[in-house]
């Protein structure tokens, strides 16, 4: 009746390496981990004044939450590169050969589907949950300036709403539309534009003048939230599309 499924790696795990090699690797890894743990325990507390330094300079940053101040002002170069990495991930997973669903002249990002099975409880729950998640994302984004929160958390919550929506099966996301590509790259674009504008006005790229720092950070965070949410959602829906592709192959 039911086939017992065996994953390939179960068979390979014992066949690939001889037991001597595996024990040797185990010992090697144990020794390395022990050495690392020893070094961490023995080492001096790294730069103990960084936290106080950040707290003391907080009034120069334009925000009141020290984490946001470090991420988007004191060390914004790191965050800029992180957002660039996210864009690279998004570009590398963007669909290039999935069929564009039948030709209405204008493709919508969110298109309707008629699912085979409808789960009324899930749909009823999502009607409440998705608006709530979007409002929560906005709240996390806004509150990031004062209390814990920020672009990454807000983006993840909004992406979670999208994941729930795509799991319900009534909608699907079409990633070939131009608006999507803009929203994927918006975070990096806005970050670079703010840096460039700052460079033209003040002469330094990422050192915001204190009176404007708050609004600069807010602009960057709004754009970054859109990009982060789009990238995380793209990751999920692409994997899901691959699953559906495999299942279609199974049914034939």
């Amino acid at each position: 009746m039911f086939l017992k499924l065996e994953f390939q790696e179960h068979k390979l795990s014992s066949a690939g390496l001889s037991s001597a090699t595996r024990y040797l690797l185990g010992i090697l890894i144990t020794v390395l981990s022990a050495a690392l743990a020893f070094v961490i325990i023995r080492s001096e507390k790294a730069a103990p004044d960084l936290a106080t330094l950040a707290t003391n300079k907080l009034n120069l940053s334009g925000v009141e939450n020290p984490v946001t101040a470090v991420l988007l002002n004191f060390r914004s170069y790191d965050t800029l590169l992180e957002i660039a990495v996210l864009l690279i991930v998004a570009v590398s997973i963007l669909p290039d050969r999935l069929p564009i669903p039948a030709a209405t002249a204008k493709i919508q990002f969110l298109s309707n589907m008629h699912p085979h099975s409808v789960n009324p409880v899930l749909v009823g729950l999502l009607k409440w949950l998705i608006p709530l998640a979007i409002v929560m994302g906005g709240y996390l984004l806004w509150t990031g300036a004062y209390t814990p929160g920020g672009a990454f958390q807000a983006g993840a919550v909004v992406a979670g709403a999208g994941v729930a929506l795509s799991l319900a099966g009534h909608h699907r996301f079409i990633w070939q539309t131009a608006s999507v590509r803009i929203s994927l790259s918006l975070g990096l674009l806005m970050f670079v534009m703010v840096a460039a504008a700052n460079a033209i006005i003040t002469g330094t790229t990422l050192q915001y003048p204190t009176p404007y720092a708050g609004s600069f950070i807010l602009i960057i965070e709004v754009a970054a939230t859109v990009s982060i949410a789009a990238t995380l959602l793209l990751l999920f829906t692409q994997l899901k599309a691959m699953v559906e592709f495999t299942m279609k192959g199974n049914n034939q």
Binding site: L3, G150, V243
Partner: protein, 91 residues
């Protein structure tokens, strides 16, 4: 005070146990569920350390989205394995 130490001890023990189990368990689905539970315990730990930013990020990304991604990937492996099985039966 002693209650707080007890809570921390349970958290630390639970994290190590869940991390070990999610590596050692043979069923991939069980491993994923254990990993998501590990993420939730780590979230509580970050909250106990009053690192609220990290706690929110861990809950949303570490436990939520990573779990969803892993489950979808598991589904795909599952289907691929079923396909191979069927081909083997036919031939």
């Amino acid at each position: 005070m002693s209650i707080e130490i007890a809570i921390d001890a349970v958290l630390a023990g639970g994290i190590i146990t869940l991390a070990g189990l999610s590596l050692l368990v043979r069923e991939m689905f069980t491993a994923i569920v254990l990993y998501v539970s590990l993420g939730l315990l780590v979230t509580i730990t970050w909250a106990r350390l009053s690192a609220w930013d990290v706690a929110i990020a861990e809950a949303a990304i570490g436990a939520g989205l990573t779990g969803a991604l892993l489950l979808v990937a598991w589904r795909q492996l599952h289907d691929a394995a079923a396909k191979t099985e069927r081909t083997n039966h036919v031939s």
